[in-house]
């Protein structure tokens, strides 16, 4: 399936883009992250959370194909 991924803040600096679509055949977030770590090795050192369809998910969560976002630590307020 195609997965649309958004990147923010420090994470977008590493990926050099704010948004991309990846083709992905596995099932869990863990497996997608393994693929992203190969593409962007510096991501491994960084702290971030992942949202699927605007809700935070764990690494074991099965991906549905809805929009993902890699969110670095929050700094609102």
């Amino acid at each position: 399936m195609n997965i649309s991924i958004k990147y923010f803040g420090l994470i977008a600096e590493i990926t050099q883009c704010a948004h991309e679509t990846l083709i992905f055949s596995e099932s869990s977030l863990n497996e997608l992250l393994a693929q992203l770590y190969i593409k962007y090795p510096r991501l491994k050192e960084k702290e971030f959370q992942v949202a699927q369809d605007q809700e935070l998910i764990s690494k074991e969560t099965v991906l549905t194909g809805k929009e993902l976002a890699l969110l670095p630590p929050f700094a609102g307020g």
Partner: protein, 147 residues
């Protein structure tokens, strides 16, 4: 009055004192209110390794952030007896000394506004996907993290 529709909380750039003043003035017609409480977040000129922060450039996952602000509103109205609540957060560049967050709560009585305001601000800091790039005088930067 409770407003159940999700709103766009974000305002481009700093939140001006005129805007804050006008918001207060608009409440003069709501005469069941006996107490307002206001939180203003201001960009601090932190010194980090001898370099001073001159501005913060805010970005956000805006759809999720507005949904989170809405959840916080709903949860706050559930827990506290408020007449009304307004939240505004800056997006884009805000210079040191300028206001980047404006939270305004109103109630018939004072005790509830103190508790509600603290609850809202802590929830925003913990759960809303807003990101802050701290810009130094020499145009280098680092990414702010809430603690």
């Amino acid at each position: 009055m409770k407003d159940r529709k999700p709103k766009n909380v974000f305002r481009q750039g700093a939140i001006s004192s005129e805007f804050i003043g006008e918001s207060i003035a608009k409440h003069q017609t709501k005469t069941s209110i006996g107490a307002h409480n206001i939180f203003l977040g201001q960009v601090r000129a932190d010194k980090i390794n001898d370099k001073e922060v001159v501005a913060i450039e805010y970005t956000a996952y805006e759809d999720m952030a507005n949904a989170k602000f809405h959840e916080i509103r709903e949860a706050t109205f559930e827990q506290f007896e408020l007449t009304c609540m307004h939240i505004y957060h800056s997006i884009g560049t805000v210079k040191a000394g300028e206001i980047c967050l404006f939270v305004f709560v109103s109630s018939p009585h004072r005790k509830v506004v103190f508790e509600a305001l603290e609850y809202i601000v802590e929830e925003i800091k913990a759960h809303v996907p807003v990101f802050g790039k701290e810009i130094f005088e020499d145009e280098s930067h680092q990414w702010k993290v809430n603690n």
